[in-house]
Amino acid sequence: MTTYQDERLPVPTPWRLIRELKLRRPPWWMVLALIVAVIGTWIPLALIYQARSKDSQLPRVHFFHDMDKQAKFTAQAAHPWFEDGRAMRQPIEGTLARGHLHHDAHFYDGYTQDATEGIQFVTALPQQVAVDATLIARGHDRFQIYCALCHGASGTGDGLVNQRALELKEAKWVPATNLMTQEIRDRAAGQLFQAIRDGVRNMPSYGAQITPHDRWAIVAYLRELQSTSPVAPPITAPTATAPAATPP
């Protein structure tokens, strides 16, 4: 048997060439399988890319659950044992935690009340609160968080939420009070404090959001702001706050 290599001068007949090619190349299905396998490796990578670039409404996959979710009550978690579904329990009615008795009317209420004179707002800040730069800075900070939304950073009532409400023409919205008017300046410190705690007219109560000390800090800051800002004209009859839309 003579092979291709044995011959000194192999004559490349068509048949010989075909046979030679067959020997060099693996069968077509093998080539195809390899190409499919290589392309197949891109599918999981593409899925990972998709998972990374797109948001998902499904929570993360936990492979190892060990102690990730423990049988304990966490803050503001739900729990089916209780009727209201909350794991965090309210204090029993008529009870107080230690140190939470608000017996100091001056500090906690801003007014004193007795049968003969009725409600008397305090005019000075309580003695627990020392008016210094730290307190004013704290008051400024808290004012920016809780008050400036409606009353504006300058206290003139131009806050973004107030503007938005006027823009939406909300019928129920009462425009935020300008805190720079003489009327507000004349109010007792205790009245301002009580307004923050319990709310006034449209303004809701901020007693739960702002601690008593911070409320006094805001009052102190407001006094500071008033003393450095021009007095705003008094609020007269309800004027059109936005340019009146003329009907077509």
Partner: protein, 234 residues
């Protein structure tokens, strides 16, 4: 003549390795190397918190938009999340906080129906927790916020999110990255809730330079303490 040649070689070819078989071994070697690099790559990428956890954006009972409240209206984070400065948990506000404004703004909106029901019946809204650490991690918001770690560092640009999504992996490796060298993530305490604060523009110092100063000023714990197991796991 040609026909006899053909039949003879076909017979012998049955017992002969085809010529391509010479490449089988190197080819198999390349495939093996490929598989050995591909599988770890696949596992690492597929199991990483960046793939599994980042981008979690559950549908909430009310489509509350942080983009409107914290972005457009520039509400401070602490207006609602009041406990963040003095508690471990940054509280989800009570329904009463929503009603501070929504009693008169958009008070009839159908999207806010669950909120009104919640207030009338005194039942809490079931918000879905997005940033959920394992229960064996004792993360404390106040510790971070009071040392000058900003909200945006871990929660991303919430002021641009219509629906809150997880922006960072919140993995242990990610936590440790900062616990090993917190300086670059520190800023003055009063700028913690600022969503677009730039150290260089605000103070003229690089974040690292400013952070090193603040770390000393705020008594940020030493690296051995901050990378100790019991700092986060108890």
């Amino acid at each position: 003549m040609a026909e006899s040649d053909e039949s003879e070689t076909d017979e012998s070819a049955r017992f002969m390795f085809p010529r391509w078989a010479n490449y089988l071994f190197p080819a198999a070697l390349i495939v093996a190397i490929g598989v050995l690099t591909y599988l770890p790559l696949l596992l690492t990428l597929g199991l990483s918190p960046e793939t599994r956890a980042v981008g979690y954006r559950p549908a909430q009972p009310i489509p509350f938009s942080h983009a409107v409240h914290a972005g457009k209206l520039k509400m401070d984070c602490r207006y609602c999340h009041t406990t963040v400065e003095h508690a471990a948990f940054a509280a989800i506000p009570p329904t009463q906080t929503c009603l501070n404004c929504h009693a008169s703004i958009k008070s009839e909106s159908p999207a806010l129906e669950p909120m009104r029901t919640s207030f009338e019946k005194g039942t809490p809204l079931s918000w879905i927790k997005v940033h959920d650490l394992p229960d064996f991690v004792y993360f404390n918001h106040s510790a971070h916020v009071n040392k000058g770690v900003a909200c945006v560092t871990c929660h991303g640009q919430v002021n641009e999110m219509e629906e809150v999504r997880q922006d960072q992996p919140l993995s242990m490796a990610w936590c440790l990255e900062c616990h090993r060298s917190p300086e670059k993530n520190l800023r003055p305490r009063d700028q913690v809730t600022n969503m677009s604060w730039d150290a260089l523009a605000a103070t003229g110092k690089s974040p690292l330079e400013l952070g090193t100063e603040l770390a000393a000023q705020y008594h940020v714990q030493s690296q051995p303490f901050m990378t100790s197991c019991s700092t986060c796991h108890r």
